[in-house]
Symmetry: C2
Subunit: 214 residues, 2 copies
């Protein structure tokens, strides 16, 4: 009965191309298993040989969407680059991969982003994975004396906020690639390494906060 | 013939409340002058006494939407606070004003953001105004030796990117107020003052870039 795994894999890949085509034609509308089977010219029961259910399909879509970014994260964190360079490449290479997707087919990317918002539970694992790899880089930097006085989680959260424009694909649409440049990202990463965890003397941040909320 | 300006002003304010109600009911759909006249229970010709055309209406909507933020920008830049504190308050007080709008009526804010995207030419003036005031603060900081080697425009662009989560109202929806805290913003502003314009020794950013794009 069982087909060799490679056939199933090839079928899945072909079906994910069909999903792309469906989204190109219809935008970010919800795609049912029945729609996909029809578009692929197969019976629904045949489609279920490739994907057990809609969740499995969505997970495969996400896996393909994030594959290149995961590859970059693993490669950079496992490299023996100096830690500042590691953080820069961690963000810059994923940003450039995102720009490529965007310049290739902006509408397709936009539709996938909308689908991702709709099924955020599928995306969340990849966000967490990003935080995991970033925390490895942060821990390495801390061993070298950076980010003084911050916990790993605090530093990860602050860094994510400071480079948000380069990790959030929506920024490609509302900020744009004219303003978002890896040269600027490099300067921001330097500012993170040299400024994060240091306090401007005599101008306490907690005080400012109290002043503001009172 | 001419009514006193105050009557016209009061009428405009009342009509902007009607716009709010229409958006509450219908979401971010396009509102025509005819729709607004009907909802306000007045004839279209009467409505045109308050707003010359749809552009004038949209500008009034934007003016009201940004009024509090403009007030804060003027107040902070004109204050004699130390420059780091000025930049912090510049972003933190506008952020808190935005959070208030968000917590009050998230759906209404979301609809206004969608309308703002649709008519970005009306919003652009306020974005430019924000950059103008920020550049005053940046120039003051530069006189004190901060942001070495950067032009005012470069520093403004980099700072905008680093605090994007606290100025882009969309971030309230996709990052959320649990993660976005003025205490974190204070730390980011410190990192901007102490790190921006400094370079991590021996790890040249231009080199990294060449490595990446080649």
């Amino acid at each position: 009965m069982a087909r060799p795994q490679t056939d199933i894999d090839a079928g899945r890949t072909a079906l994910l191309e069909v999903v792309d085509d469906l989204i190109r034609k219809r935008g970010a509308v919800d795609i049912s298993m029945t729609d996909l089977a029809a578009a692929a010219g197969m019976s629904p029961s045949n489609l279920y040989r490739f994907f057990d259910n809609k969740e499995a399909l969505l997970e495969a879509v996400a896996e393909r969407f994030f594959a290149e970014k995961v590859r970059i994260m693993v490669e950079v964190t496992e490299s023996d680059l100096p830690v500042r360079e590691k953080m820069y490449q961690y963000f810059a290479r994923r940003y450039l991969a995102m720009v490529e997707q965007y310049e290739d087919e902006p509408d397709l990317l936009k539709s996938y982003l909308e689908i991702g918002q709709q099924y955020f539970e599928v995306v969340r694992g990849y966000v967490d994975l990003g935080d995991h790899y970033l925390s490895l880089i942060v821990a390495e930097a801390m061993e070298q004396g950076y980010f003084d006085g911050l916990s790993i989680d605090e530093a990860v959260s602050l860094i994510n906020q400071m480079v948000q424009c380069y990790t959030n694909p929506d920024a490609l649409f509302y900020v744009g690639t004219t303003k978002l440049k890896v040269e600027k990202l490099a300067i921001i990463v330097d500012a993170i390494f040299l400024g994060l965890g240091k306090t401007v003397t005599g101008q306490n941040s907690a005080q400012s906060h109290i002043k503001i909320v009172s």
